[in-house]
Homo-oligomer: 477 residues x 2
């Protein structure tokens, strides 16, 4: 057993077997299991973090029994396991190092059933969000959660990070969609709680531990998810708002309007929308200088009704809310272009590679004050500092990117993190909204989590995974 | 330290102090705390279980600090604690015995804030659901959960039992409304996670343990809850359905209708509706013999639009679904009378006092088969056996009452429990939907929970409450 380090964190467990020997032993464990070597992995994309394939060995069980056999063997041999799904995670939660074993859910990719009457789906962990959406659409249903990386993100990964996305303000996050769960515990035992009903008050709900558990408590293998009816009749608009408060008034108004469902509300602060438009040659003549852009989408009983409602409401709100411009999409194509401005949030990375990026939750009433304070705090570190600010405004989830080529020196990064995180917990927000802790938000976790909460987390980790075998080095328990 | 027994369960901890000495010591603990004696409790209603006040001493802290002082002192002195809220629980989850201390949240009854923009409320645990609904109504908001005992049930109690109610099919259960939580841990330490945002992916979400924890992991003291806009424009109908499948088709149709929100869908099987009508002298001439009654309520952009929609939809569905009657309420008063038939579900207790009653979740597609099997299983025990069946059909939550004066002899009760619970877990349901385990569903927990789940629950209980001080004797860990 050797010890490994990633960014200063000591990893609890790793094997001393040679790669060849490890490969041979793994290959013998279970017939329903594929083992990939360093060579096999070289041709594959490691996803959002270059260190994801560091372990150099990936096991792909095709059944929960195979996964359990692997985990049990690793437990016996004190070998650490890094679970991996679609590798779309943004905080290094899937990084692995030599001596560990990657446990990929890529062969656990079956949609087991869709129950139209109960509006639920039972899927294996490696199914992508988009694959499930397509299967559900055949029944007039869709997922009650949606996010930009839908084509690659897996349901299991979304459970493990408690994914959020664009519908959370209305439907809640992944935790609120999960009815049932099957996992493999660090002991190798299978924990099966594949409930397909929403009402369960039958003792402690243990599956909650694995939701947002970032792979620290075991491997998610199957998930029962709530679905909801599709609402295809939509209209989309962009409008100018002086501040978050104005945008929230628009949102509140649209949410209380009978006959209409608010489907999305995404805000882009001035610098984001201006720089994006400049880079992409977009026409922003409709938007007043210094205004933020709010993208709203509603559904109604027909496309015409949705569009007419949106036109009427913008006209009605224009003066009282002093809107700074507005434009209702005339076609699906134009609506898609509005969405591209929001979803292509990586537009700046060519200019500022490895920029420091954050993902915080702030109670909506605090948004304007938070953004103003953040700007002045950043300027106090370096007068040239500024940030791109955009996000899911209806639930207070802001994405922030420091407009500076990264990576920052450690002390500068800490100063920026302090500027971003300070006061958020006290205001009722969170230093990590939907991306998780992983490797990259460990300072946030260590510094901005209450000691009582950290102690409780440590206690649970110790109880479930006393050897520290599951995804070591990420959430610093 | 003595040992006590309730229904054969050994309670872990109790005090050997005399009642007078205990009262004196408790009274000195903290100024913000009231201590009630046996005499003080005699004039009070013990709620839904006659054994709730068995401990004979109740402490009412007025602040979380006072509660923490009490819990810390009890931990030092190995004295067991039974948390109590509104005492509306139906499974004996608040029963206490001599030697224990009742910890009541009745003085933790402040609504701390309502945030209209964020649509959240922060309340102390002892606030009743109705008090919160009234305060929220001033902002055009309401709770996203509702249940019949709203006037007495407390938010803290609803968190501890993961309450369900009539809106769960759409909004989820209490777990899905809770954004933040403050609790006192069995050690006496305060755990504060008063998040007011829906998106949090910042390490394990430990507050989930206390939701549905039935007071076994600590005392809930403060809660941050999601609210939602009021939808006051409603219409209510009763209609006849041959079976659950028909009712589910109606529900599915109303849920996918643009411009309309389904607010409730409650089904009463034939024997329930017939006996109720007979007892109360209600006119059921509109309902065909042998049909179940489905109560549906929708909201729309006006009262007239809601009523017209409901009339139109019933007309449209009449033939294809072969409806067995239907009546749309012509007034709020008539709608209220429809609701009384459903909510006055205790109508039969005068005839069959202490009847065995159950509360199960069944995936909606299995409802008809389940009810048919249940009837034949009951008849196999005793040919005279029959049950009242009614409940929140849209989420598969059935309430079942054996039509026989109770309590049943132990072996007969076990046979009935087996008849009610067998196969439910395998179908994806739960032996306890919204009432919890408490004392009365312990057989269900012991017999119809997977060994892996029970072992995990025991591990967590041991980690958090190693002395077994919190609500001993209820959920059998």
């Amino acid at each position: 057993m050797a010890s490994n380090e990633v960014d200063g964190m000591t990893l609890a467990q790793s094997t001393t077997l040679t790669p060849l020997e490890l490969h041979r032993r793994l290959s013998e464990l279970h017939p329903e299991m594929t083992v990939l070597s360093v060579q096999d992995l070289q041709g594959r994309h490691p996803g959002e973090h270059s260190g994801n394939f560091g372990a150099g060995v990936m096991v792909q069980p095709a059944t929960v029994e195979a996964a359990a056999a692997l985990v049990g063997w690793c437990a016996e041999n004190n070998i650490a396991i890094v679970p991996q799904g679609g590798l779309t995670g943004l905080v290094g939660g899937n990084v692995s190092v030599a001596g560990e074993v990657i446990l990929s859910t890529s062969r656990l990719n079956r949609i087991l059933s869709i129950e139209p009457e109960g509006m639920t789906a039972t899927v294996e962990a490696g199914v992508t969000l988009e694959a499930l959406q397509q299967a559900a659409a055949e029944h007039g249903l869709t997922t009650s959660i949606d996010l930009g990386s839908r084509g690659t993100a897996t349901i299991g990964g979304m459970v493990s990070t408690n994914a959020g996305g664009i519908l959370a303000f209305r439907n809640g996050v992944m935790r609120h969609q999960v009815l049932g769960l099957e996992t493999v515990l660090p002991s190798g035992e299978i924990f099966s709680d594949l409930t397909r009903v929403v009402k369960v008050s039958a003792g402690p709900d243990l599956k909650q531990l694995f939701i947002g558990g970032e792979g620290a408590f075991g491997l998610v293998t199957k998930v029962v998810l709530k679905l909801e009816p599709q609402r295809p009749y939509r209209a989309t608009a962009m409008l100018g708002a002086a501040d978050a408060r104005t945008a929230l008034s628009v949102i509140r108004h649209l949410r209380t309007l009978p006959g209409v469902t608010l489907e999305a509300a995404e805000m882009m602060w001035p610098r984001y929308i201006r720089d994006h438009a400049h880079l992409k040659g977009l026409d922003l003549s409709w938007l007043e200088e210094n205004a933020s852009a709010l993208l709203v989408e509603i559904s109604a009983e027909s496309v015409d009704a949705a569009a007419a409602t949106l036109e009427d409401q913008l006209a009605e709100l224009w003066e009282p809310l002093d809107l700074k411009g507005g434009i209702v999409a005339k076609s699906l194509d134009q609506a898609r272009r509005f969405w591209d401005i929001r979803e292509d949030s990586g537009f700046y990375y060519a200019e500022i590679p490895e920029a420091a990026a954050f993902d915080v939750s702030v109670p909506p009433t605090h948004l304007d004050a938070y953004v103003a304070q953040l700007e002045s705090r950043l300027k106090a570190i370096d007068h040239a500092y500024a940030a791109y600010v955009y996000g899911h405004i209806a639930d207070g989830n802001l994405h922030l990117t420091l407009i500076k080529r990264g990576p920052l020196p450690q002390d500068e990064l800490r100063a920026v993190e302090d500027a971003v995180y300070t006061g958020i917990r006290e205001a009722g927000g969170s230093f990590s909204a939907e991306h998780g802790v992983g490797l990259e938000k460990r300072y946030g976790y260590e510094t901005f989590t209450s000691p009582a909460k950290r102690a409780l987390a440590r206690m649970l980790k110790q109880a479930l995974d006393p050897k520290g075998l599951f995804n070591p080095g990420k959430v610093p328990f």
